[in-house]
């Protein structure tokens, strides 16, 4: 399974949606994921890929990790996974 599919599966589970209803253009807000849901999603993604995501809930916009949309999250993870290998 590619990274995009795996991330969408995690986000869909958090949003209680079918993965087919989540597109990379969605924002987390559109999917009904609140701040707690975001922190839980990040934890699930870290566990899935065995990576550390630099995210501080106090400055969500002020980190290297862009959470503005599903696609930005996916590309952030792709970078982190690449750095790992």
């Amino acid at each position: 399974m590619d990274i995009e599919t795996r991330v969408i599966r995690i986000i869909a589970e958090q949003a209680v949606l079918d993965p087919s209803d989540v597109t990379s253009g969605n924002t987390l807000e559109e999917l009904g994921i609140d701040s707690l849901g975001l922190v839980e999603s990040i934890f699930a993604i870290e566990e899935e890929f065995d990576i550390s995501i630099p995210f501080n809930a106090n400055e969500p916009k002020n980190t290297d990790f862009d959470i503005s949309s599903v696609s930005s999250i996916i590309s952030g993870i792709e970078k982190l996974v690449k750095a790992l290998n």
Binding site: S35, F43, F55, N56, A57, N58, N62
Partner: protein, 403 residues
């Protein structure tokens, strides 16, 4: 109803091992936040905190005592000794039967828990020390204070996360105010600065890696502290009759629940607690000179708290001072309201307002007089102490200068 005054105060925290040293640090705007030192700290991403230094448990307590006292109990007993000595009270006869101790605490014996989990899970041992349970239970500190000082009245521990101490002190106030007892020992303590304690907080992604900067636009989270604050609450007439030194009057309090979110604070819930405390204490808005803020240094708390203060006080919000001493001693969670009450006492009694240190950039969402970086001299007649906990449980105390 009885008037309630404070006739004793004691503390140990990252700023000092007594009230005098703590207030001196607050006057000087000194930070007690340093690099954490404990086993496995290198496995944490958050490595700073307001850890108590210059403290040797073996010098303060004997071997038998240490087998029963978790760090949060040790801190409590040290602070209680100072507070009760200052009050000059001895608990015998009728006073001993009536007086009790109500303390705030959130994590209980977290260090004990951490060490013993390590023993059975990591070291694979199958045996733990026989006193693990009496050492880690949340009421251990209250029980040891009651035993040490012969306090036989109503005694228990209140656990409402970051508002625990304020809820506990409100309950103690009510006991004296209602005439159930002429004296109560109250306050709170916490010691979560161990690997498991900090690791759990790390997970929530609300901790700062580099410092506590309440109300500053570049704040990036809370920093934990540890320690205890203990007070003697006494019936005013009882205190006057025996010629006790009165530090301040506890004029009233209010508690409220947000009933909305488990971690996100609510402006309405906070505002109801602040307004409720003023109403309970029969205090006019314009009498309030100082508020010791909850001021955790998180994005959410500080802007919500400032909005609540602005809502309650209207134009007077721009004339009062509000500071967060967590910038210096860190967030003591269940013990934080108790240590912060010392800043209110200093404002009322000494006319010195503790600063919010680490303040670097104004935040339009926190546009109040936060007493940035340097203590200030000012006459204050009424001070409030805010505590707004995770779980949406709020408690605000109102203190008045004693004439």
């Amino acid at each position: 109803m009885k008037r309630v005054v404070i006739t004793g105060a004691g503390t140990i925290n990252a700023l000092g091992t007594s009230v005098a040293t703590t207030l001196e640090a607050m006057r000087e705007g000194r930070s007690g936040i340093t690099d954490l030192e404990f086993r496995d700290v290198e496995r944490l991403s958050i490595r700073i905190g307001g850890q108590v230094r210059e403290y040797d448990p073996a010098a303060a307590f004997n071997r038998q005592q240490l087998a029963l006292y978790d760090r949060f109990t040790q801190f409590t007993l040290i602070a209680a000794r100072e507070a009760i000595a200052q009050s000059g009270l001895e608990f015998t006869g009728d006073l001993a039967t009536k007086a009790g101790v109500i303390l705030g605490n959130s994590g209980g014996g977290m260090t004990t828990l951490d060490e013993n989990y390590r023993t059975v899970y990591e070291d694979g041992k199958n045996r733990v020390h026989p006193f693990v349970v009496p050492k880690l239970m949340n009421n251990a500190a209250a029980s040891h204070v009651s035993m040490e000082y012969n306090l036989k009245g109503p005694s228990y521990t209140v656990s409402t996360a970051c508002a625990s101490s304020n809820h506990a002190m409100a309950q103690a106030f009510q006991m004296v105010h209602g005439g159930i007892t002429p004296v109560m020992v109250t306050g709170g303590s916490e010691s979560m600065l161990c690997f498991g304690g900090v690791k759990a907080w790390e997970g929530l992604r609300v901790m700062s890696k580099d410092g506590c900067r309440p109300f500053s636009a570049n704040r990036n989270g809370m920093v934990q502290g540890e320690g205890a604050g203990i007070f003697v609450f006494e019936d005013y007439d009882h205190a006057r009759k025996r010629g006790a030194e009165i530090l301040a009057e506890v004029a009233g309090y209010a508690m409220s629940s947000d009933a909305s979110d488990i971690v996100t604070p609510s402006k309405q819930g906070a505002a109801r607690a602040i307004a409720g405390a003023l109403h309970d204490a029969r205090i006019n808005l314009d009498e309030v000179g100082y508020i010791n803020a909850h001021g955790t240094g998180t994005a959410a708390n500080d802007k919500t708290e400032c909005a609540a203060v602005a809502d309650v006080f209207g134009q007077h919000a721009d004339r009062l001072m509000i500071s967060s001493t967590k910038s210096m001693h860190g967030h003591l969670i269940g013990g934080t309201g108790a240590v912060e009450l010392l800043a209110c006492i200093m404002a009322l009694r000494d006319g010195i307002i503790a600063p919010t240190i680490g303040y670097q950039e104004p935040d339009p969402e926190c546009a109040l007089d936060v007493v940035p970086n340097e203590a200030r001299e000012a006459r204050v007649d009424v001070a409030l102490s805010n505590a707004f906990a995770f779980g949406g449980l709020n408690a605000v105390l109102a203190l008045r200068k004693i004439a």
